[in-house]
């Protein structure tokens, strides 16, 4: 059981609540700037082409236009991993690639100017499929990346960055298996989280070499570092983070829009704002990496995985920003969910002529497991293993080890999540509903129900470094200096809560510094699942350090040792003797006390999310309806109950469960255009279609920081998609292996339409499918009569 605290674990009001509900919360586009110009980007209509000639003279002559920049005008700023992408290049590599930048006195004039720029292209052949891109003779995106293969590993994770999982003896492992299954599966529908607030930036350049940026980002301190390196380490960069209108991992790196605004400000000497349109947001901002895996697994009857071999191919689009990092983390995460001694899993990252992939919630592991779990399911089906039993057996246990992102081996010192999985299964009614593989849990005429389960967890809850200061004031108040933007998780308020608990002062007496890189210490940002443990640790330590200094300073006044003192509500007294106390003001009214806290990376703890889903499939129309979701996790200690519940409910959108049911980004394989780059054609779940969600959250204290908590919010989206494939396959009695399970795919799997989408001889097919499924169901339902499982 979790400990009782004064603030931690209590539902408290978010500090920005009143601002949000009154429209007073300032997002990037709400901030007013004096003398502001507006920037727009001219984008390529071709997927792959050389720019032969650009004539910008007509655009420059349009009244109100202050600058027009092309690849010929800009410095040699090169981004990406490895650095191969010029901020503006003479080659374009996807439909939407930046060709020219315009700054004008308003957005309308800037847009008009774009139409006046004349560009002559030499069109090149393009490639949109990752395996096609790897073939000899395929169009080459970069001279530096022969075969379109992106250099493995990211320098950010060190020289031994994890790029594969190789250990043990796979041949021996396959020899010990009771079943060996293999297949090629993908998660390539590049569903887009689409945060409501579009990406953007405001830059103000000051000669000779300083730029201040206002960003809408998840990790604003990191922007400063990324841009510093992008600008050749010659520009002093300051970032201001504001409220961020959703990110879901995508607004980790917005270096392109930030550098466009910087270039235009440098050219004009005035602040320049660029806010992407929704079309640009969907077609020219971050996509999830495409994932395709050929895998072979060996499994014993008891669910032991004896060997895993295969190749994981990752489509990064036209360049890689974070894809090597996602591959490294994914390779770690697959080991967390599959306890196996023998591995031979190789990876390759491939460039294609579509918009680039980047960071998205579920970072690598979701992409990999959505492709890998279908292979495991084939083996489980062959051996008739219940998937809940399988994940309980195979999720990392205390004392197990794994290679993590830096290539080092870590021994897990967290908890066993089996109890949590059991409690989730009970809430869901798994045992009553599970009828075996490819068996519906209930049948009502043409409508069939099926259930599925997925699991995900990561050891990046303790990744990277954080620093914080806590400043105590003589009036009994405090200030937390932590470079954190608020992107919806409520973390700014949660750190206040942690500091309040350490200092024992009301949360209202604590303010947080604005996310300004000039005044705050280093902060990697609330990225991955690191917010609660990593950033929280820095805030807690800073508060503890400040408290210690305060008590040491006033101890002589109370004739006591510092370690015997307590402080509550701004009063200091000897423990157990509150009748004789002094105020924080005893520090002196011309003084503040500054505590410092730092967190260093720790990869020995992991979180875990298990998601159970029930779907109903209409076998006449192919429509899949989500009936019920149960998320089960263990947070160690809940910090903020309503905030956590909100994070877990996030399992549906932001490319979670719905990326398996209907969400997809549709890329035209001939032209390379994204066909649904707007919020009407890109489908999203509405209020009218909400399924019941039950969140089972346990609190088993874990050895993280003093509040024994770990972050679980990020991973809420990740187990769902694989659970959906399983549930739909079970409902209809045949395997579906492609995301999302659109009506077309369901009807194809049922043999009701053919590969061209034409209707097959429906009477015959229906009779056959119904007879087959009904016979199986009847047998099962009869066997389970009285359990209520077929209700």
């Amino acid at each position: 059981m979790a400990q009782e605290y004064r603030f931690i674990g209590k539902p408290t009001k978010r500090q920005d609540a009143a601002a949000i509900v009154t429209g007073g919360a300032q997002y990037l586009d709400d901030i007013k700037f004096h003398n502001l110009l507006h920037g727009k980007v001219l984008r390529s209509p071709h997927a792959h082409a050389y720019i032969v000639k650009i004539d910008k003279s007509r655009a420059e002559q349009l009244p109100g236009v202050e600058a027009v920049l092309t690849w010929e005008d800009v410095p040699d700023w090169i981004g990406g991993t490895p650095r191969v992408v010029r901020v503006l290049d003479r080659k374009v590599r996807y439909v939407g690639d930046a060709v020219a930048l315009v700054a004008a006195k308003n957005a309308q004039i800037a847009k008009e100017a774009l139409a006046l720029i004349e560009v002559v292209y030499q069109i090149l052949p393009a490639v949109f499929d990752l395996e096609e891109a790897m073939k000899p003779g395929a169009p080459q995106l970069y001279q530096e990346l022969p075969g379109n293969i992106v250099t493995a590993g990211t320098p950010a994770f060190g020289r031994n960055c994890l790029t594969e999982v190789v250990m043990g003896d796979v041949e021996k492992g396959f020899g010990e298996a009771d079943a060996v299954c293999e297949g090629t599966f993908g998660y390539e529908n590049i569903a887009n989280p689409i945060p409501p607030e579009p990406p953007g930036a405001v830059a103000h350049w000051e000669e000779p070499n300083r730029v201040t940026l206002w960003v809408s980002n998840q990790a604003s301190y990191l922007d400063k570092i990324i841009l510093f390196h992008l600008f050749g380490k010659k520009v002093e960069v300051r970032t201001h983070g504001a409220a961020c209108g959703g990110s879901f991992g995508t607004k980790l790196m917005s270096w392109q829009v930030q550098s466009y605004a910087t270039l235009l400000s440098k050219a004009t000497g005035r602040p320049v704002k660029i806010i992407f349109t929704k079309e640009e947001h969907i077609a020219a901002f971050v996509l999830r990496p495409g994932s395709r895996m050929h895998a072979r697994v060996g499994m014993k009857r008891d669910g032991t995985v004896t060997a895993v071999s295969g190749t994981w191919l990752v489509d990064t689009g036209y360049y890689s920003a974070t894809t090597q990092a996602q591959v490294a983390v994914g390779c770690g995460e697959i080991q967390l969910m599959t306890r196996c001694d023998n591995w031979d899993l190789k990876t390759a990252i491939v460039c294609t002529n579509r918009n680039a992939s980047g960071s998205v919630r579920g970072f690598g592991g979701q992409e990999l497991k959505c492709s890998f779990i279908p292979v495991l399911c084939l083996a489980m089906e062959k051996l008739n293993i219940d998937p809940v039993e399988f994940i309980k057996k195979n999720y990392v246990k205390p004392g197990d080890g794994y290679f993590w992102r830096d290539g080092d081996w870590y021994t897990y010192r967290g908890i066993d999540y089996s109890d949590c999985m059991d409690q989730g299964a009970r809430r869901f009614g798994w045992q009553e509903k599970w009828q075996g593989w490819l068996q519906p849990s209930a049948v009502d005429g043409p409508r069939r129900r099926g259930i599925g389960v997925g699991v995900h967890g990561n050891a990046d809850i303790g990744e990277d470094s954080s620093e914080a200061y806590v400043r105590l004031h003589p009036d009994g108040s405090a200030m937390l200096f932590s470079c954190i933007t608020e992107h919806g998780t409520g973390q700014r308020s949660n750190y206040v809560k942690m500091v309040a608990e350490v200092l024992q002062i009301p949360m209202e007496r604590i303010t947080v510094s604005p996310a300004d890189s000039l005044v705050n210490p280093f902060e990697y940002g609330p990225f991955g699942s690191r917010g609660t443990y990593a950033i929280g640790s820095a805030a807690i330590k800073a508060a503890e350090d400040a408290r210690r200094q305060l008590l040491e300073m006033v101890a002589p006044r109370l004739d006591a040792k510092a370690e015997d003192l307590e402080t509550v509500d701004g009063m200091i007294f000897v423990r157990g003797k509150p009748e004789k106390s002094i105020k924080w003001g005893a520090m002196g009214y011309e003084r503040t006390i500054l505590g410092y806290g730092r967190f260093d990376p720790d990869f020995t703890l992991a979180n875990c999310m298990t998601t159970f889903v029930e779907v109903e499939v209409d076998t006449e129309t192919g429509k899949v309806e989500l009936l019920h979701v149960v998320n089960a996790t263990d947070a160690g200690q809940i910090i903020d109950p309503p905030g956590l519940e909100g994070q877990l409910n996030g399992c549906l959108g932001s490319s979670g469960i719905d990326s398996a049911i209907f969400e997809e980004t549709v890329l035209d394989p001939i032209s390379g255009h994204i066909l649904n780059a707007n919020m009407i054609d890109y489908k999203w779940r509405t209020f009218s279609e909400l399924p019941p969600i039950d969140n089972v959250v346990l609190e088993t204290p874990v050895a993280s920081h003093r509040f024994k908590a770990i972050g679980v919010g990020e991973v809420a989206t990740s187990p769902g998609p694989m659970a959906i494939l399983m549930a739909v396959s079970n409902a209809v009695g045949v395997w579906l292996h492609e995301y999302p399970v659109t009506p077309e795919r369901v009807l194809k799997a049922l043999g009701k339409i053919n590969a061209n989408g034409k209707v097959n001889d429906s009477a015959k097919v229906n009779a056959k499918v119904n007879a087959k499924v009904n016979a199986k169901v009847n047998a099962k339902v009869n066997a389970n009569a009285g359990s209520g499982g077929a209700a």
């Binding site: 920005d16 509900v21 409501p196 992107h487 919806g488 309503p642 519940e645 909100g646 549906l652 509405t686």
Partner: protein, 176 residues
């Protein structure tokens, strides 16, 4: 201005007059910076001309409900409404919900706070305005009626479940 108008008889500029949050607004129609162009949407005018940036723009295409405001009590998409169409109308935005004298929040706003019915908060003003229109028409909506009224409002964090609770709790004729 004087130079361009020299020698011409200056025509009186056309105006569009309406109220925003109870205050009369009269804007000239034209293409000068201080004027409203006939192509300007209400969302643009509220944000850029009147400085009421509580109204958010997400899709600017009538698909997501972020820019929802009330016109004569009905929820409308301000990104799909031209400012010149608002002649004589009464517009209410998120900034107009709290009591202008006491500063006391509208019960819906307070309920959104009490239920933490937001995460990133970007869609929240639109959600609250859609809910305000619903409660104006139906003081005791059912859960399904709340969902139906909000079905045009996009939220990606999935604050929906908390929002439904917040709206039901704020309904003056509701049981909570």
């Amino acid at each position: 201005m004087a130079a361009t108008n020299k020698g011409k008889t200056a025509k009186p500029a056309k105006v569009v007059a309406f109220s925003v949050n109870g205050k009369a607004v009269e804007l000239q129609i034209g293409s000068e910076p201080h004027q409203v162009e006939s192509s300007h949407t209400l969302a643009h005018t509220l944000r850029e001309t009147l400085g009421l940036v509580g109204t958010k723009i997400t899709c600017d295409n009538g698909a997501c409900g972020s820019c929802t405001v009330l016109i004569d009590g009905k929820a409308i998409l301000s990104c799909m409404t031209l400012t010149v169409e608002c002649q004589g109308k009464s517009v209410m935005t998120i900034e107009g919900l709290a009591d202008p004298v006491s500063g006391r929040l509208d019960p819906l706003q307070q309920s959104f706070i009490d239920h933490t019915a937001f995460q990133c908060g970007f869609c929240t003003p639109g959600m609250i305005m859609s809910a305000k229109a619903l409660l104006g028409e139906n003081a005791a909506p059912t859960e399904d009626e709340v969902k139906e009224a909000l079905s045009g409002n996009f939220c990606r964090c999935i604050s929906h479940y908390h929002v439904v609770k917040a709206v039901l709790a704020a309904a003056p004729g509701g049981s909570e």
